[in-house]
Assembly symmetry: C2
Homo-oligomer: 152 residues x 2
């Protein structure tokens, strides 16, 4: 993969390095629900979420997983993991705006081998079918992977 | 799945609720490396990692992904995502020691539908093949999924 690294192709910008991904996945993910946000596409998403002043959003939980919400009531914050499924996964070095070439693991970009975002969200309300939150930064419909309690 | 939930079977403790997992995965993960810790099994792992006083550990990065480390030098902290591959994935409600039945999403237990741990680690050194860190809490050999910069 490092040997096969190429630069500047497939839409990569100058200075960016793409690697060949492994032939097969090593493990699998279940989508436990969806993020509901006012952001219709990536251009509409904020650069980072704002857990205090960001818009009210919803984490819709699939019926099968709703029993796992019990006990979240009254917690001020959660950590949400979600899957940035529109992002390419093969860039090892990227050139974000205003910065020189930087390794993917030194960036919070959604473009990464496993495009999993981790965001601390303000928990506004617990409903039977999901959570009302502030702080999401993703496109409406983004698949949700996990919710954990968060201690600031 | 909620309809098929059962309690107390398959090693679940009284009060715990297991659900049937979906028939297929929704997305796939690549293991980008391995966590190297002094903890040989789950019994040896601390309840939570300690990014200041915890033992020195190593994040070994697979050769193909090493170019993505560029730019991490000098950062005090990282967020590491890793895959707790020894944990069962079907418990919706758990009864941790000293607590009553609690929903999985209100716990930091490795037992969850997507057993992805998220830990803030102190970055001690960046080497060509990986990172020296403090703060890991997992079994030696645990698959690594992602590294991101972290701002406390």
């Amino acid at each position: 993969m490092a040997d096969g690294a190429t630069s500047g192709k497939d839409g990569a910008r100058p200075g960016e390095i793409a690697g060949a991904l492994p032939d097969a996945f090593d493990a699998g993910l279940y989508f436990i629900g969806r993020c509901r946000t006012p952001f219709a596409d990536r251009a509409a998403c904020p650069h980072t979420g704002d857990a205090e002043a960001g818009p009210l959003c919803r984490l819709d939980i699939a019926p099968a997983f709703r029993p796992a919400l019990a006990g979240l009531e009254g917690r001020p914050f959660i950590l949400a993991l979600y899957f940035m499924d529109q992002a390419r996964r093969d860039l090892l070095v990227q050139t974000p705006h205003g910065r020189g070439p930087t390794g993917t693991f030194a960036l919070r970009s959604p473009v990464r081998p496993n495009p999993i975002a981790a965001s601390v969200l303000r928990l506004i309300a617990v409903e039977p079918s999901g959570l009302l939150v502030r702080g999401l930064d993703c496109v409406d419909g983004t698949p949700l992977l996990d919710i954990k309690p968060h201690r600031p």
